[in-house]
Amino acid sequence: MSATGDLRVRDLAVRFAGQENLLFNIAALDLPSGNSLGISGISGAGKTTLFHCLAGIARPTAGQIGWGGTDIAALPVDALCRWRHRHLGLVFQDFHLVDGLSMLDNVLLPARFDRWKPPAALRQRARDLLAAVGLSAWERLASLLSRGERQRVALARALLLQPSIVMADEPTASLDQDHRAQIGDLLLELVRAQGATLIVVTHEQELLARMDRCMRLEQGALQALPAS
């Protein structure tokens, strides 16, 4: 039986409505649990669409996306939602925090999706994660945070429920040079400490270089990049 973080993709294809050509067609992609994969490619190559498909956010036109033996491409909407909640942590380029909530409440947000009040242990984990990403003053509103701080909160939020998969879409693209390195370090360090599978879509060569595997999406196909 495979672990939840094992990825097995077969014949994955996406074609946008009204278009003749496939955006991409991936015959096979395998990633063992706990490994990291960096995906790069030029703008418009379909990186974000591939990211959405792997995260169960968008439906592929054809193919299977197996995470730990579950083909998420075939899951009904609500089951897919439960799957994301249980197994997946997401980090976005633009952080997507809720401005009217404090740092702590933003981190605890996924815990509100299936319970009224997060238990004390989860609240403590949220505080620990914020401390791990170097943040204190947990009651500060998200709207008052700098971009670097916002991405740290987003990272803590993604890890709150100890997901077996963490996916990040351009996690450092909207940060300045200093913060890029810090966030990259934290992402790798915390995800590895948790033993989760990590998939990062990024243009950032330095970040790609630190992944177990790197691939480039080009002309509709995923090609392995040589290890640096």
């Binding site: 956010i57 997507h96 809720v98 009217g100 909530l101 409440d105 947000l109 319970r115 429920l161």
Partner: protein
Amino acid sequence: MKRGFNPFPIVGADLRCNRLLVWVTVLLVAISVAAGIAVISQERALRQGSARAADDFDLLVGAPGSNTQLVLTSVYLRAQAIPLLDGELLAKASTAPGVKYAAPIAFGDNWQGHSIVGTIADFANRGGTLLPTEGRIFQRRGEAVVGASVALAIGATFSPAHGLHRAHDDEDAHGDPAHAAAQYTVVGRLPPRQNVWDTAILVPIEDVWRVHGLSDGHDTYAGQHIGPPWDAAHLSGVPAVAIKPDSVANAYRLRAQFRTPRSVAVFPAEVLNDLYLTLGNVRDLMSVLAITTQVLVVAAVLMALLVGFLARRRQFAVLRAIGASRLYVFCVVWIEVVLLITAGAALGVMLGWLGSNLLSHWMQSQIGFAMPVRLGATEGVLVVGLILTGAVVATLPAWLVFRRPIAEGLVSG
């Protein structure tokens, strides 16, 4: 195990971050609800207030003419020139079987704008049921009993001015020797009745007749006798006679008896009922207008909210991407709309009640009787109907958010 979910942190955060939209929405709903509440409660207050003011008048007899005019003039002291009833009919009414008292109601003078009404002691104390809060009821000519709002102390004296309204210079009886010579002494003050009679001054009718050079209903001028029995041969005409029957059956019998070519007899309540039917039509029209306004406001508010939700579609897509169910985001949107409409409705009830009370207060000074404002079932139906309608209509934006693909929301601007 299902443990539910908690959309309120997101709802609270959204409301905090969109204060302008929240306030505009709540105020729009509140104003439309307040207008509806004010219209309905004012109509009710007018009906109840006017009915209460007519409680002291079971049966009114007057000269042939407009029944409504007779009621408005006598009950509400809306002074108008009306034909006088033959004095002989007053004498007949006073001695008719089944009559507790038959009180002439005569006006035409004022003191500083307060109507001076000539009548009998039985009417002044409503057949003994209305005891003065100070002093006593008049017992002889030259004495006066004042309504609760008249600024005259017991023992004060004053002279009447001719006319129904205070003239600019009528600090005293102006230019009329008969009025100037007449003088009343205040001997009692009546309790508040919450109607125009609180501002009236009641005097023996004999004095009113004398001041106007008319015979005073008695065969000699020697005594100080006031009130019935009257001498029909010396009775002058009066604008109206208020009859207090001793039973319902006698009330109908007396009404029939005084419906003659020389007189009309009406139950003020009956005349008011006709007015209420007209008012009811107006109320229905106003209610339709109020409800139409509410529907339009709610539609406009929902459109504004829908635009707001569409602008936040990325936020909802993110919530779903990080694990929120479709039901969760549906609830966030639905609760936000329902909260705004409920808050607007609650504020509207308060504003409507407050506005209606202020309006009643002002109206009392204009029309002379209190208009008690009470919120009733109709207003409840209006408010609950609005909230329920809002709750149903709120499912539309919630549904749009519910069914929107996540990826589409994530890439939207």
